[in-house]
């Protein structure tokens, strides 16, 4: 009974992540790839994403401290970020990355900085939520 309750909870938690736009169907694809041969696929790939993206974030922060801003490099970083975040279905994060890229294209210093703050925020939020999710679901 308790188990069922937990299962339901898990489901609810998961669904809310989708409903609130944190995740998109790509995440479902990840779940589909999880099977007996790959029992922890989702968690592994998400973990890999967060560790890699943390590194990226640090790089971007450093780049944002060097003026004049190197928009090319920043754009590159975001491109990478976008690739990996879309690979796990991190919808909001990805959207913020897109925004950031727009500012890069417009060569807007302030815009970039602000956009990046949002990227970081979404990133942190998602991380928190997914960690919580994995805790109950695994």
């Amino acid at each position: 009974m308790e188990q069922n309750h937990t299962k339901r909870q898990i489901k609810v938690t998961r669904n809310s992540l989708f409903e609130q736009g944190y995740l998109d169907e790509q995440f479902t694809q990840l779940e589909d790839l999880q099977d007996d041969a790959n029992p922890n696929f989702v968690e592994e790939i998400v973990t890999s994403f967060f560790s890699d993206s943390t590194r990226l974030i640090r790089n971007v922060e450093t780049a944002l401290e060097n003026y004049p801003l190197d928009f090319c490099k920043l754009d590159d970083y975001m491109h990478q970020f976008m690739g990996s975040s879309s690979s796990i279905g991190a919808k909001k994060v990805r959207n913020e990355c897109t925004q950031f890229q727009e500012y890069c294209k417009a060569r807007n210093d302030d815009g970039c900085i602000r956009a990046f703050q949002r990227v970081k925020q979404e990133h942190a939020t998602l991380k928190r939520k997914l960690e919580a999710y994995f805790q109950v679901s695994l």
Binding site: E25, Q26, Q29, L30, D32, L33, D35, A37, N38, F41, E44, I45, S48, F49, D52, S53, D76, H79, Q80, M82, G83, S84, S86, S87, I88, G89, R94, T98, Q101
Partner: protein, 657 residues
């Protein structure tokens, strides 16, 4: 640098089918050996998971250099290479180029960009693209892998979908372009890029065709020097461009009109003309004038233009993964023809010229095949064995326009592989995993060619089935199985007891836009022509072109050879010569075969009515074929590239970035 080799389980089952959980036949090759390259660990891990899910044998590396080394060490080690475009140590395009140049492996590039809204782009294209695939997943993104849809890039791309990138990818020899995040369905279908077909060129009496052979630079597919000049699209020979119109003495609208072979050069001229005029304003007449090619008719141009547009569309929709097919012949062993979902507009190379009866199967990427039912020239590439040719062209020999149209959609991906590469890494003849051994068993040319019955244009070549079997027995099996996945129920019936497969097009696939799949895969299938020595001196891009030519020509020639009597026994005779010709995927060459004229006329009409090129089913087909044929992978040539606007080359998929 980490290289992980993950050996997925290679599964073959006796029937060469892969059964999924629902006990349905899964149609993709099990055990295909894929090399995945991506510096991003997350993406790499995802790719790995997806590919393993497809039951491919996966090897991953996060360094392009490593990948290159591995490939150099043994080019036959992999059947397909998927590479990210943005990598720190080496640009994906560069990798592609190197791989292509050195190994003729079709490369698929991956770039991060999700183009979901691609699916919402004009219904027409979508339809074509993914008729089959959409069954599986309505939201699937046909990354233009196979097939070239001339969408306007602008609308689809943003960021990475920059058409210029796509074009770049194509010119570099990408077979397909996928956008990240990559979907499972796309990967399931990429093998379609890898069909290579070896086509024995049929001896042609046509003088102009025959003479060309000399320039096999691109590698002639036909083993024996490509008697069919016509079919050798890739010829660099300009004269050939003129095609075939001149050859046919008795052309009449009702007769089989010699197909125009859109060789690379010819196509290049075409593209240059189109660019000059502006894609929106490019009308056949003006293009024709600009091209200034003797013997080329407005009709030819019109149909080619139609295909080209479709192609562009398709490319523009593509995402950013580039798929490269390489491989050894063994690939074919587990290649199973999976239904092609409109994804790949594979243009069969066979598009070359005119092969009145040649039904070149165009291998369409996923959707395509399914739809068209024509197996793209999957030929088994066996070292010794007969090559299976998959005529995917559903030529409307007899004027079954519908079939033609479906063919259009189905554009075999042309892999620009130099014919001289024996290891047709692409899945040679993706016959359902029948073993190569089987194929090779007899060195003798018992090539089972689907009957090319000029009259029966709706031959659907069951890619897998037809090819793989050397013996009628197996072919039968295959045929039946293939029919299953080709979604061409009708064709199943057509299989003659002797195992010859017929090509037919499933009624369902009529949209020309079959090219939809955005992934244009330029599978560089090493066509092994018999005795062809390919000197891949050219750039990879060129290879692509070459291969195209070859393929198409080969395809045609083979078909031609086979065409005559609908003999169940396959084209033992003619085919035998092309033992070793297996073409991988090749773009559909012009299918405007005998009935090209007819088809074209309708197309023509359409076109005339205002340059409204719609990938109408039947009509479109012809043009698509032409287009495909024309779309040879081109080497990087700025003049050819559509200014970032259109993808070019149906063959090389490098569509959008």
């Amino acid at each position: 640098m980490t290289v992980e080799e993950i050996r997925g389980s290679v599964g073959y089952n006796n029937n060469n089918y892969n059964y999924n959980n629902n006990n349905e036949i899964d149609r993709f090759p099990i055990g295909m050996r894929v090399l995945a390259v991506d510096d991003d660990p997350t993406c790499l891990k995802l790719l790995d998971g997806l590919l393993r899910k497809c039951q491919y044998q996966v090897t991953t590396t996060n360094q392009a250099r490593t990948a290159l080394n591995m490939l150099r060490e043994n080019r036959n080690r992999f059947d397909l290479v998927i590479s990210d475009v943005h990598m720190p140590d080496m640009d994906g395009f560069k990798l592609l180029e190197l791989v292509g140049l050195e190994m003729d492996l079709p490369v698929i590039k991956a770039v991060p960009k999700r183009i979901l809204d691609l699916m919402n782009v004009e219904g027409l294209t979508r339809e074509n693209v993914a008729s089959h695939l959409q069954e599986q997943d309505p939201t699937i993104m046909m990354d233009g892998e196979f097939g070239y849809d001339p969408y306007s890039f602008g609308s689809l791309l943003s960021g990475n979908s920059d058409p210029k990138l796509v074009m770049k990818g194509i010119t570099h020899g990408a077979c397909d372009y996928l956008v990240k995040p990559v979907r499972l369905e796309e990967l399931r279908n990429i093998w379609q890029h890898v069909i290579r077909k070896k086509v024995e060129p049929k001896p042609q009496s046509r003088s102009n065709n025959n003479q060309e052979k000399p320039n096999n630079e691109g590698g002639q597919e036909a083993g024996s020097g490509d008697p069919n000049g016509k079919f050798n699209r890739k010829r660099k020979d300009e004269d050939e461009d003129v095609e075939d119109n001149g050859d046919e003495a008795d052309d009449s609208s009702t007769q089989k009109k010699p197909r125009v072979v859109w060789s690379i050069d010819l196509h290049r001229k075409f593209v240059a003309a189109v660019n000059q005029l502006g894609i929106e304003k490019a009308v056949p007449k003006r293009i024709l004038d600009l091209m200034n090619v003797e013997g080329l008719t407005r009709e030819n141009v019109a149909s080619h233009l139609q295909k080209y547009r479709l192609y562009l569309k398709r490319i523009s929709q593509q995402a950013n993964m580039v798929v490269a097919f390489g491989g050894s012949k063994d690939a074919s062993s587990y290649m199973r023809m999976s239904s092609l979902d409109g994804l790949g507009d594979f243009r069969s190379l066979s598009g070359s010229g005119r092969l009145p009866n040649a039904q070149i199967s165009s291998y369409s990427h996923s959707g395509m095949l399914g739809r068209l039912n024509s197996a793209t020239g999957m030929t088994l590439h066996s070292l010794t064995g007969p090559s299976l040719i998959q005529p995917t062209h559903t030529q409307n020999l007899t004027g079954s326009v519908s079939s033609v149209s479906s063919l259009n959609k189905f554009q075999p991906v042309v892999l620009p592989t130099p014919p001289n590469h024996q290891p047709a890494n692409l899945f040679q003849g993706i016959p359902t995993s029948f073993d190569l051994g089987q194929l090779q068993q007899s060195n003798k040319p018992n090539i089972q060619l689907p009957d090319f019955n000029p009259v029966d244009e709706s031959r659907i070549f069951n890619g897998s089935s037809t090819f793989s079997t050397l013996g009628s027995q197996s072919s039968l099996n295959l045929a039946s199985s293939s029919s299953t996945f080709l979604d061409a129920p009708n064709f199943h019936d057509q299989l003659p007891p002797n195992g010859s497969l017929k090509y037919g097009y499933p009624a369902s696939s009529n949209t020309v836009t079959g090219f939809g799949s955005n992934i244009t895969s330029t599978a560089s299938v090493p066509l092994e022509g018999q005795g062809q020595s390919q000197s891949r001196s050219q750039r990879h891009g060129q290879h692509g072109k070459q291969s195209y030519g070859q393929y198409s020509s080969n395809a045609f020639s083979t078909l031609g050879a086979a065409a005559p009597p609908p003999n169940g026994g396959g084209l033992g005779g003619p085919m035998s010569q092309s033992n070793d010709q297996i073409c991988g995927v090749y773009n559909t060459s012009n299918w405007n075969g005998p009935n090209g004229k007819t088809n074209r006329s309708s197309t023509e009409l359409k076109m005339e009515s205002g340059e409204n090129y719609l990938p109408s089913g039947t009509n479109g087909y012809d043009s698509l074929d032409d287009l495909m044929n024309g779309m040879v992978k081109r080497e990087q040539d700025p003049t050819i590239m559509m200014d970032g606007e259109f993808g070019y080359d149906p063959y090389s998929f490098g569509s959008c970035i």
